[in-house]
């Protein structure tokens, strides 16, 4: 008899999908909101329980769906890393919804609110499935589900520019998933399998014999390019600022903090479980990832510096942060330690905590300033909601990489991972440059929100601001405080988390 907790990953995916379907038939947005929050909380709890079962024992397990035995059928594989990631993803999803609650019910028309929550639940389901799946084709199907629900999250705030941002996002995503599907087809053609363990065996045999080297390389390249487009890897990031910057606060937080990460987690699993890092290094794929990552770190920050719209600035900064993650993946095996991979996984957590905090605070700051979004009009807004001001400051300092904040630890680990590779100089230089660039736009933003506005601007804001928006926002305050605490936990108590990640990576 296998232990009962092996059912938890499947159960949480199933719960999220069921909640999504139920939301679609609910009439009231508030009811759908409650159902979504309940499901997400339960899923967080389930993932945490799973982590509690897996980590102390150092276990990972394969859960077969249906009765079809291994090379066929469908399977889930869960280890400490997957459990940790899904717990954090679910928790952050709930906090993002909580933090953006007022904006959400303001931006989305009442008739469409239940459908919005359907899409939120589908996003949650696809994130969980992308994290847990042990089958490449299931990965593809959930990539597409995630695409549709993410696009719907963007267009929920029904303005013209948003619709156009959505269609650009949709077409870029379609390119990405088309490339991924083609890569998958080629891989299936040369190996004959879809389940990751069988694929890994077949790929290893092909790599050893040197047969079909070209189709194999093409398949790897296509799959990585496809996932790269979807997670806004550097040359393919142009769709991101408009889509993430224009959406309602909760959507921006979910999209920037979580949805991008789902694809990266699948990519990490593919890289480690199927293709294995030594083979990827031999093919030169890790070097390509490294270069794109480094370029993205600089290019994302440069475009953020030129941006005055606060949410688009945060969205551009996501491109830079995704660059960090790809840089860590590109460091590959280093001298046999895979430290870059660990650093990348940690950075996924840091960014998943930090960016939703920044987006929620930015949304709140602009709500108390008459829904203005340019930094010029947000001057002094931190005095109108101190929690939002402090939260934004904490998020910004973490992004820059000040010690005691989460961002510092991941930068530290990226730097130390680069020491055990032969690319130390270029990586360290780029981290230094990127830190300076981050400071160049986050420091002025923080100074702007804490600057006392002149008399004229204050009167102007007093006239335009909605008194209801100025009132104390409890749900935002709770969520901002928890996320702020999360940034500090990641920055100070990082040792146990890194231990979980390390054991998770080795059990991947």
């Amino acid at each position: 008899m296998r232990p009962l907790w092996e059912n938890l990953p499947f159960l949480s995916i199933f719960l999220a999908i069921t909640a999504g379907i139920l939301c679609a038939v609910l009439r009231s947005g508030k009811a759908a909101w409650r159902l979504t929050m309940l499901t997400t909380a339960v899923n967080t709890l389930l993932s945490a329980v799973l982590l509690g079962c897996l980590w102390p024992a150092g276990l990972s397990f394969v859960y077969t769906m249906g009765r079809f035995a291994a090379p066929y059928g469908n399977a889930i594989k869960a280890g400490p890393l997957q459990a940790l990631l899904s717990a954090v993803f679910c928790a952050v999803l709930a906090l993002a919804l909580e933090g953006g609650k007022r904006d959400l019910f303001h931006d989305v028309s009442p008739a469409r609110q239940p459908l919005y929550f359907t899409m939120v639940n589908m996003t949650a389901a696809s994130l969980l499935a992308l994290t847990y799946t042990n089958d490449v084709f299931t990965g593809y199907v959930f990539i597409e589900i995630s695409t549709i629900s993410a696009c719907a999250l963007v267009m929920a705030r029904d303005t013209g520019p948003n619709l156009i941002a959505t269609i650009r996002y949709l077409f870029m995503s379609l390119l990405g998933s088309g490339l991924f599907l083609l890569g998958l087809t080629l891989l299936n053609g040369v190996t004959g399998y879809l389940l990751m363990p069988s694929l890994a065996e077949a790929v290893a045999a092909l790599a050893a014999s040197g047969q079909y080297r070209l189709p194999l390389t093409a398949a790897v390249g296509l799959m990585i390019a496809g996932l790269g487009i979807k997670s806004a890897m550097f040359p393919f990031h142009l769709w991101l600022p408009a889509a993430h910057g224009g959406a309602t606060t909760a959507s921006s937080a979910i999209l920037s903090g979580l949805v991008l990460k789902g694809y990266i987690v699948l990519l990490i699993v593919l890289m480690v479980r199927v293709f294995t890092l030594p083979l990827l290094e031999e093919m030169g794929v890790t070097n390509v990832l490294l270069i794109f990552g480094l370029l993205g770190m600089v290019a994302g920050s440069v475009s953020a510096i030129r941006e005055h719209h606060i949410k688009r600035m945060l969205a551009c900064s996501s491109v830079a942060q995704i660059g960090y993650i790809f840089m860590g993946l590109g460091l590959g095996l280093g001298f046999g330690t895979a430290a870059g991979l660990t650093a990348s996984c940690f950075h996924i957590l840091v960014h998943a905590c930090c960016k939703p905090l920044l987006f929620c605070c930015a949304g709140r700051l602009s709500a108390v300033s008459g829904h203005h979004r340019s930094l010029r009009n947000l001057r002094g807004s931190a005095y109108r909601d101190a929690v939002a001001g402090v939260g934004f400051t904490v998020g910004a300092l973490s992004m820059i990489g000040i010690p005691l904040f989460g961002g510092f630890v991941s930068k530290l680990y990226f730097a130390s991972a680069s020491l055990s590779s032969d690319k130390t100089a270029v990586v360290l230089l780029t981290i230094a440059l990127s830190t300076v660039l981050n400071a160049l736009y986050y420091v002025p933003a923080v100074l702007a929100i804490w600057e006392q506005p002149d008399e004229e601007l204050r009167l102007h804001i007093q006239e335009t601001a909605d008194p209801a928006a100025l009132a104390f926002d409890r749900s935002f305050t709770v969520s901002a405080l928890i996320l702020t605490a999360g940034v500090f936990v990641l920055g100070i108590l990082y040792h146990p988390i890194l231990n979980v990640i390390n054991s998770g990576v080795s059990l991947l």
């Binding site: 593809y140 597409e144 077409f171 390119l175 083609l182 087809t185 299936n188 053609g189």
Partner: protein
């Protein structure tokens, strides 16, 4: 040369179709044409996938008494094609609905004009 092409006729056609679809999706300014491009691209992948599982002279993989399993075509790629078609149809429906919405608001579906208009609205 010609013989190799004929032998790999499915793959060659698939590559051509994928190229056509990909370029349409990437370069067309008309949103509807982009959707058509996406559909061509997906059809190419389905053709490739179906041809990979096809065995010359094989029967449909329906198990019945008296037939030898060595004569069936591989059913897995066919199953994948079916799933893929479902995904592609739903994405197409979604994007068509979105395009309709954009047309109602702006009266055009040319991407360059739309971006111009969006920039003006944003200022």
């Amino acid at each position: 040369m010609l013989e190799t092409l004929l032998e790999n006729r499915f793959s060659v056609t698939a590559v051509l179709l994928f190229g056509i679809g990909f370029l349409n999706l990437l370069l067309q300014q008309n949103l509807l044409k982009k959707v058509v491009g996406f559909n061509i691209m997906d059809s190419a992948v389905f053709l490739l996938l179906a041809s990979l599982g096809y065995i010359e002279g094989g029967a449909a993989p329906v198990v019945a008494e008296g037939t030898s399993p060595s004569l069936y075509i591989n059913p897995i790629p066919s199953g994948l094609v079916l799933t893929g078609i479902v995904v592609s149809v739903s994405i197409t429906a979604f994007s068509l609905a979105l395009i309709q919405r954009i047309y109602r608001r702006y009266g055009t579906i040319e991407l360059d004009q739309l971006r111009e208009r969006a920039r003006k609205e944003d200022d």
